[in-house]
């Protein structure tokens, strides 16, 4: 990790050298000199043509006035704080005005220890880290006569307020979502996990953008190997810029060519926290409201955080529903094609007659009909997402009414086909994660082709191929379709169904958590066993086992 820091620094240095070769010798740090003029000269050269950098020169009014200079970027710092806590306390502080004990040699310690009223300060000795800090929104104070700079944390970044997540709405549960600001996002997590075991490690990625990337995990829960692996894979990335978490996702996957998503993404802090508590690792990238969660397992893509907030029968019901809907989204058009093309005998006769009647005037084979309609739907969907919201509504009306209805009455498609396509579409909307639904939507097409050529046999072959593929996948060492295979009975408590919280005693075993138990045994509630009322029953007895 240190290696990458040095590389970044060297790269930074090179860009500076390109502008002026006399600035430094290659490969060595440029130290801050004790002459303020020289320093300012250097800084002005580095920030040449950067109109947003402010270099405020002023004097500390001791008996013998001392020159000082404050460097910061306009708009990234809190103006009030700079005025109040730095400029005012240095210039108008009665304690030092005309004080003859203050001179060039002790001014630095004096300022640092007694005058600055800022929470977090740091001293640096070389120019590169000074520049780095200034660029990340801190103010650097240089004082004539000392070869050091004080970095004060006065960052104030403009940011959207914490808002309801747009991509993962839920009915019951917290409504705050991540924003673009990394600090705010980390705070949202820290507020939920008030433990020093929550570790937040910052890595800088991006040669030019210098983006902060936070790796979050709970010490003692997350498998050390996985944490190490995550940091290693992040550290290997050398790219000029990271603008969103999606850039990193493609760099840290195990199977880059697979159609299945191998990193779970979310903009919900509660989802991140529940994953951290299961022993997973979270990655938050500055300037992105979407965090990454690894290792990812396939069942996760069918789960919504709401499953844990609703009572367990309701949650289990919706999970089974979603599981079924996923299969509908993947298979329904293919099964329709296969049955109409190859296996008409499988339909009950009345149904077959009704479908055949509708298809009377349709000029296309079932496969072409289905392919056309599915493509039209995907186009409509994409159009709906890209258009501004008011127009998006219009598109869906055009799509649903005009194309659907008109196509049927024009005899281009059968109404059964329209039903199949719309059911498929609706089913695909139940998949709660975006990347999960993309995989299913794309896989639908090859399976349709297989169904058109080999009927049910083709569909089954497609499914077996998918199965072999997902079985061979691992995400950061965790089998991708755990707990289906390798099968684990205790992990099935939180899979297709969700058992009540008091019954989910252990954390998922496949992530490699050492501290397996997450709660006390035998917490199944029941009416209190009042001694004065011996008819209380046996409901207090839990059924959990160690």
């Amino acid at each position: 990790m240190l290696g990458i820091f040095n590389k970044i620094k060297n790269a930074l240095k090179k860009t500076i050298e390109d502008q002026d070769n006399t600035v430094s010798d290659a490969g060595e740090k440029v130290l801050i000199s004790d002459s303020l003029d020289k320093n300012i000269d250097y800084i002005k050269r580095v920030f040449d043509r950067c109109s947003d950098v402010v270099v405020r020169e002023f004097k500390i009014p001791a008996k013998e006035a001392i020159d000082a200079s404050l460097i910061y970027i306009d708009g990234m710092v809190d103006d009030d704080l700079v005025a109040e806590s730095i400029l005012r306390s240095l210039q108008l502080n009665p304690a030092i005005i005309n004080d003859d004990k203050v001179n060039k040699s002790n001014a630095f310690t004096m300022v640092k220890e007694r005058l600055l009223s800022i929470g977090e300060i740091k001293t640096v000795r070389d120019m590169d880290s000074l520049v780095e800090h200034v660029l990340s929104g801190q103010a650097a104070l240089l004082i004539d006569g000392s070869a050091q700079a004080i970095i004060s944390s006065v960052r104030k970044l403009e940011s959207r307020t914490v808002d309801e997540p747009q991509t993962e709405p839920i009915v019951r549960g917290p409504r705050d979502g991540f924003v673009e600001n990394l600090r705010t996002n980390v705070t949202l997590v820290r507020r939920r996990i008030k433990s020093p075991r929550l570790k937040v490690e910052i890595i800088k990625i991006g040669r030019i953008t210098q983006t902060d990337v936070a790796v979050l995990y709970i010490d003692g829960l997350a498998d050390g190997e996985i944490v190490k692996e995550v940091k290693e894979r992040l550290g290997r990335i050398e790219i000029d810029g990271v603008l969103a978490s999606g850039y990193l996702e493609e760099f840290i996957e195990d199977y880059p060519n697979s159609i299945f998503p191998q990193v779970n993404v979310s903009e919900r802090p509660d989802r991140l926290c529940s994953c951290l508590l299961e022993g997973r690792v979270g990655i938050i990238v500055d300037n992105t409201p979407i965090c990454l969660l690894v290792p990812a397992t396939f069942p996760q893509f069918l789960q919504s955080p709401e499953d844990y907030y609703n009572r367990f029968p309701y949650a289990s019901f919706t999970r089974i529903l979603r599981f079924g809907a996923m299969h509908i989204a993947l298979l329904l058009p293919s099964v329709y094609i296969a049955v109409l093309t190859f296996h008409q005998e499988m339909l009950p006769t009345p149904l077959l007659i009704s479908i055949a009647g509708q298809r009377e005037g349709v000029p296309f084979p079932a496969f072409l009909e289905a392919l056309m309609m599915e493509l039209v739907f995907e186009i409509l969907r994409e159009a709906g997402v890209r258009l501004p919201r008011p127009i998006g509504q219009a598109v869906s009306i055009v799509g649903a009414l005009v194309i659907g209805q008109a196509a049927v009455s024009a005899g281009l498609v059968s109404s059964a086909m329209v039903m199949v396509v719309s059911l498929t579409a609706i089913a695909s909307f139940t998949i709660p994660t975006i990347s999960g639904s993309y995989a299913i939507r794309i896989l639908r097409f090859p399976i349709m082709i297989l169904a058109a050529s080999f009927g049910l046999f083709g569909i089954m072959v497609g499914l077996m191929a998918i199965l072999i593929h997902v079985c061979s996948m691992r995400s950061f060492g965790v089998p991708y379709i755990a707990p289906f295979a390798p099968f684990s009975f205790s992990d099935f408590k939180d899979n297709i169904i969700r058992m009540p919280w008091w019954a989910m005693i252990n954390r998922p075993s496949f992530i490699g958590v050492k501290d397996k138990q997450r709660q006390k045994l035998n917490q199944m509630p029941g009416p209190s066993q009042d001694k004065s009322n011996p008819g209380g029953g046996e409901s207090g007895a839990g059924k959990g086992k160690g």
């Binding site: 080999f454 049910l456 072959v461 077996m464 390798p486």
Partner: protein, 367 residues
């Protein structure tokens, strides 16, 4: 070792043999058994088949205890010396041959039952593609895929049997043992050969990560196979009756009989699902053990390089093996049992006796 992955004994020894034996046996064995044993076929499968299966399991386990980290290809070279290589080569050829028979059975079934106009080679190529992909991915992947489909597979067999209940006429089973024990013994030839396919486990045992349970699991597997096959035979007998022996795929016909509430009928799709899933696993397993065996025989550093050549041999062999499906069933009923017996029980028992006599290999763990 050529295979670096490790699987649990439940995955590799309990569930995998179940799938690769039942997947083909459930469709074909009832008819072959019924030809000889008539309505008593289920006794052949339940009793004689299971005893034979247990015997095979016993020999495999005893041999494995002497050579816990070796496959049959490897320890036959230690036990039989110079003849070991020949035995190993015979096993590899046997695996490939059995696999090509399975591939052919599969193609014939799809061809006759679902798509009579598609050329056979299409099914064979597709199946071999899936099988070689799985074999290349390794034992872990085959076991995991099998673990995933196992519930579907078992549920389809049980489900078809239960749905067929309303058509059942249990008096078809009577009288039991009308002609004495001889027809039953004769009928048990074919099911025995299928049950003995668990010899494949001798190629998998070294890669089990909890060996202390493996012996127990192999026995469970044999018993489970017996129960499920018996159920399938009993239901084909009680629903289809005497006709069973004239059908090629009686279990498939059983699924065709199902009608529930005049709406759910003709569940052969379920059979198709089960069949494709199960046979893919079976072909992948045999494919894998053949490649692994060949790799061990020639001391290759990676068995994956021989997967493709073996696939080509398999494709050609299965196409040219039989002229038509009638001949293949005849082969399965008459020649396969004896042929299989040599490899399933004959050679392993001989190896065990020689090993015990010459005191080769460790005495192994108890149990």
């Amino acid at each position: 070792m050529l295979e670096k992955g490790k699987v649990s004994s439940r995955q590799g020894i309990l569930l995998l043999p179940f799938t690769f034996v039942v997947s083909t046996a459930v469709l074909i064995a009832p008819a072959i058994t019924a030809k000889a044993a008539g309505r008593d076929g289920w006794i052949s499968i339940l009793l004689v088949g299971t005893v034979y299966g247990l015997l095979t399991a016993f020999v495999i386990i005893k041999l494995w205890q002497r050579f816990p980290d070796k496959t049959i290809i490897e320890y036959s070279q230690i036990i039989a010396g110079p003849f070991g290589k020949i035995i190993g080569a015979m096993y590899v050829i046997w695996f490939i041959h059995i696999n090509s028979v399975v591939v052919r059975e599969f193609g014939d079934f799809i061809l006759t039952s679902f798509m009579p106009e598609t050329p056979l080679i299409a099914f064979i190529v597709i199946l071999l593609f899936l099988g070689s992909w799985a074999a290349k991915s390794g034992l872990e992947v085959i076991c995991r895929a099998n673990e995933f489909i196992f519930p579907l597979f078992a549920l389809s067999v049980v489900g078809i049997s239960i749905f067929a209940l309303q058509e059942a006429e249990f008096s078809y089973l009577l009288p039991i043992m009308e002609n004495g024990i001889k027809p039953i013994l004769r009928g048990s030839w074919a099911p025995m050969a299928w049950r003995g396919e668990i010899i494949v486990a001798s190629m998998l045992l070294p890669y089990i990560n909890n060996p202390d349970k493996a012996g127990k699991h192999l026995v469970y597997s044999v018993i489970l196979i017996g129960v499920v096959l018996t159920m399938a035979t009993v239901f084909t007998t009680v629903v289809i009756g005497e006709l069973t022996q004239y059908l090629t795929f009686p279990f498939f016909e059983l699924a065709r009989c199902i009608t529930i509430g005049r709406f759910i009928e003709r569940m052969e799709a379920l059979v198709l699902v089960m069949w494709v899933a199960g046979v893919t696993i079976k072909v992948a397993t045999f494919f894998y053990v053949a490649s692994l065996g060949l790799g061990q025989l020639f001391g290759l550093s990676d068995y994956r390089s021989v997967v493709l050549p073996i696939g080509l041999i398999l494709g050609v062999w299965s196409l040219e093996l039989f002229e038509n499906s009638i001949l293949s069933i005849q082969w399965l009923a008459e020649i396969f049992p004896l042929y299989a017996f040599v490899f399933e029980l004959g050679i392993p028992s001989a190896l065990l006796i020689i090993a015990a006599a010459t005191k080769k290999g460790g005495q192994g763990r108890s149990g």
